[in-house]
Subunit: 195 residues, 2 copies
DNA sequence: GTCTATAATAGGATAGAC
DNA sequence: GTCTATCCTATTATAGAC
């Protein structure tokens, strides 16, 4: 607490991103100052520039890290089998990945407009890749004859919005436990695309 | 264009709110300055304070107006009949009300965290009233035995998230016309709560 | 690697002339 | 009702000492 000088690059670096994530999720990118982030980390504002060239890069790093982690985890989930199994797997994956990451979800969905064009495009490309994973499952189900979806693209957007919305209102320790909520959402998803 | 002086209270007042809505929807509350809003209206920053006591009131007025308009329109929609008809009516109402108001939807969903506590509570109360209208329909359908919803509250949040998500990606003149999209969403909603 | 100090700019809000 | 001018505060980012 009393130490004011010293080198902590391996500690401070991640702490800057953590503090930025927490503060931006709570107050929004434009509303959070570099001084606030520095105070949260326990350094002076100037020290932040050892870890990020500017505020924009901080936001972009947060969002890129979230999307890379998401796509990596999806690849590892290795959803195989018939379309219904894959849809159930995707639904569970989406909920289990996003629910413990409410700050990341908040930032990734709210702060897109604060990315400069180049960074925006990079994030959108990754997001599109994730959406396509779900759409491919819906297409497969159509081909198998187990899903009846008038338009797979619209259904994809609708289902992702429904699932992601969960992150906006779910609070740990609430009325319903996580497995129960997961079951309820799977029930809604399954029926919505059923024949 | 050349006139720099004069009284236009009845013109300028609404124009301030319109400009604020457009700019805040695009860039976010914290990122938009009073000077930007004034420039959009075509006055100097100081003149704005004839129409709003401060920036916070501007945001609150935008969100309150949106919610009041929503609840009034819902009351006029007068959804009656059996639960399935009411659900279809609600779905159509939600889409038709929100789709032409993408700026309002954006602001109302993104800027809640920038409201001071008192204003936040006021908006949340109105939002809850709207959600309850849908939940009542789902309850009625359960009672009639035409819906099978494990938890009406969770289903309410899920369906509203799905429907509102439409406002985030729909663009006029896109691949699908509005009535088509409306039909697709109704199909998803109807099946998701079906027995 | 972090500090202090500061440059350069922009912010919300107000006062007083017209 | 609007303007100009200004107060006061806060901002991002940089420079140089330690």
């Amino acid at each position: 607490m009393a130490r004011k000088q010293g080198s902590h690059s391996e500690i401070t670096g991640p702490r800057v991103l953590e503090a930025a994530l927490r503060l931006i999720a709570r107050h929004g990118y434009a509303a959070v100052s570099m001084r606030q982030i520095a105070a949260e980390v326990g350094v002076q504002a100037g020290a932040l520039y050892n870890y990020t060239p500017d505020k924009q890069s901080l936001l972009f790093d947060l969002m890129r890290h979230h999307m890379v982690e998401l796509l990596d985890a999806l690849a590892e989930a290795d959803l195989t089998g018939d379309a219904l199994s894959r849809l159930k797997g995707f639904t569970q994956f989406h909920i289990r990945f996003h629910l413990p990451r409410s700050d990341q979800v908040f930032v990734s969905y709210m702060e897109l407009r604060n990315l400069v064009p180049q960074n925006f495009t990079a994030i959108e490309t990754m997001r599109r890749e994730y959406e396509d994973a779900l759409e491919n499952i819906l297409r497969a189900g159509e081909a198998e004859g187990v899903f009846a979806v008038p338009d797979t693209r619209v259904a994809t957007m609708a289902l992702i919005a429904m699932l992601t919305g969960l992150s906006h209102w779910y609070r740990e320790g609430g009325r319903l436990a996580m497995p129960v909520i997961e079951q309820i959402y799977w029930d809604l998803v399954r029926k919505s695309v059923a024949v």
